[in-house]
Amino acid sequence: MSRKIERLINLTIALLATKRYLTKSEIFRSVEGYEGSPETKERMFERDKDDLRSLGIEIEVGSYDPLFNDEAGYRIKQEKYQLDLGQITPTEISLLSLAAQAWQGASFDEAAQKALLKLNSIGVPSDSLTLPGASNKLSDGGRDFPLIAKAIADQQLLTFTYIDSQLFQNVRKIVPIGLSSRAGFWYLSGVDQEIQEIRTFRVDRIEGEIAASKGPRDFETPQNFDPKGVFEGGSPTSFASIDVRKGKGTSLRALATSTESLGEWDRLRVPIYNLHTLASMVLWHGNDVFVQQPQELREILIGQLDSLVKSHG
């Protein structure tokens, strides 16, 4: 096993050090470890190339002189092999270390730690930067984020089963365009291929595996998509006028765009993104919250209260 590893390292060194393409016969002659019949060497070399590529090392194939029908040669370009972040400062190293630490305990942690090791090998020490909020952690909930990220980068098609608000399982096919996180949840945005519109899915509501396949050839990333805008819910369809008892309804107050005092009560103007979500929030607050407008929301509430009375009578 050691011999194979030695050979892989020696091959990497030789291909990195060369200024021109090395032909196979040059490699077999000069790099230590290629032994046996020509077929054996050939097979060894093919496997070694695949192994290095799977480690993310790009081997370029070319010929020494394109004008002649030369034997193909190989090399590894230094600039592709090496980590090149340009000039880097101790503060930047600290920031990158903090970024890597955000994954502590998550399954992505291993990749982050490997990246950190490479950053620490640049030879620039980190400074003692401290950030009060940097104790935040990211969790990937066991999801395959590299798969999602790769699908975004390559505009692949993602197929998955999604649980809707009535607990139905629907198969969705999207070309992903963004991944966002807020308050511990991850949200995947993409162009739903059935309706050709942008939709956002909460990742933990995806049931089972996410499958990636080749995306549609004519896909165009929607202009003006802002992953930060996902949580603003676009533009609200309308506003509700809601009375909230003083000192109560903190979560509704956080949503309100304006507040008017009415003595014992305050009247809030609350944007409506989803009537049913808002109805549920109103009911949570019991007698401390009363909806004035719109009629549509009041009707949902009356219907739901009616069935609550009946089912608890």
């Binding site: 990158l96 990749a111 909020g133 990211l138 365009i177 308050a183 979560s251 009911l283 019991g286 009616d306």
Partner: protein
């Protein structure tokens, strides 16, 4: 989810990464190096011995790497080809870019210098791995509150906080002595001793409305009052994802019944109300009656006004 390689490839990757690391940490203790690469001392000696045999074609002492580790401290020379760290893989790059996004959301806006650096690093990393900038991470926590918590933890002082209790829908003023900040699945909690209830509590940091550092005597007494637990039985009436998530149900088929234990009657009542008829509380009977009464009085008001 990092790709895992076969043992020889894993080791090849480690050897390639060892060279630049030693190069930038000349004289590092062998055991420290083993710890950084998360292998045993014996494995590290094995790795270094293998590296020792590697070098440029020719493989005379002139071309081989020079490694010295017999003293227990590791030095390397004559390894110019591998002296720079390898570029990041796609997975590694994505993990850093997402980490930077989170970091950005936790830097206060008066540190424009740091925000600029974070942006520039994310951009440089994204271009290395060919990733469009499509990630965003936002935290819902106020920077000032984080600052006060960090200061109190560092200086071992108390905090005076305004806390929004979701169950009771109340904002209360509390004096607390913070013990540690925890992160559970991306939600931050502050574990603290609360002087108001004379007991330890976990506060969801996003529900802390304000926080200020105070000097407080560090006395810890346990309260004797134990809150009474409630065992309830709830029946599913309509399929609802909200219900399934609120009560952590794996089976939420219509007609099924499940038991749920909680310490807060208010939480239970509010949760059933918020389900809007998708669930009915079967027992305990007094809470069932209380829900019916509350729903009736709300209904009456909607019908009257």
């Amino acid at each position: 989810m990092a790709k895992s390689f076969s043992a020889p490839l894993e080791r090849t990757a480690r050897l390639l990464d060892l060279v630049p690391y030693i190069n930038s940490h000349q004289g590092i203790a062998l055991k420290d190096l083993a710890a950084v690469f998360d292998v045993s001392n014996a494995q590290m000696i094995n790795d270094l011995t293998t590296l020792w045999m590697c070098g440029l074609p020719g493989y005379t002492p002139l071309e081989l790497m020079e490694l010295d580790f017999e003293s227990g401290y590791v030095n390397i020379s004559n390894a110019p080809t591998l002296s720079k760290p390898r570029s990041v893989t796609f997975d590694e790059g994505v993990s850093l870019v997402l980490g930077l996004e989170l970091l950005r959301s936790s830097i206060s806006s008066d540190r424009a210098d740091l925000l600029e650096k974070v942006d520039s690093l994310a951009f440089r990393l994204s271009s290395i791995i060919n990733l469009p900038s499509v990630f965003s991470v936002t935290t819902t926590v106020n920077q000032k509150i984080f600052g006060a918590i960090a200061e109190a933890l560092a200086s071992q002082s108390g905090l005076e906080i305004q806390y929004h209790s979701l169950y009771r829908d109340e904002i209360t003023q509390r004096k607390i002595f913070p013990i540690e900040a925890l992160d559970v699945d991306g939600v931050q909690y502050l574990s603290a001793y609360c002087y108001e209830v004379s007991d330890f509590r976990q506060f969801k940091i996003e529900r802390i409305q304000s926080a200020g550092v105070i000097q407080i005597e560090r006395r810890v007494t346990h309260s004797v009052t134990q809150s009474q637990g409630i065992s309830s039985v709830i029946k599913v009436l309509k399929p609802s994802r909200e219900l399934a998530e609120r009560f952590n149900l794996t089976d939420a088929t219509v007609g099924s019944e499940f038991g749920y234990d909680t310490f807060s009657q208010q939480w239970l009542e509010r949760s059933v109300l918020a389900a809007g008829g998708a669930a009915a509380l079967l027992s305990p009977p007094e809470i069932r009656a209380s829900i019916a009464q509350m729903a009736q009085s709300m209904l009456d008001r909607y019908k009257a006004e």
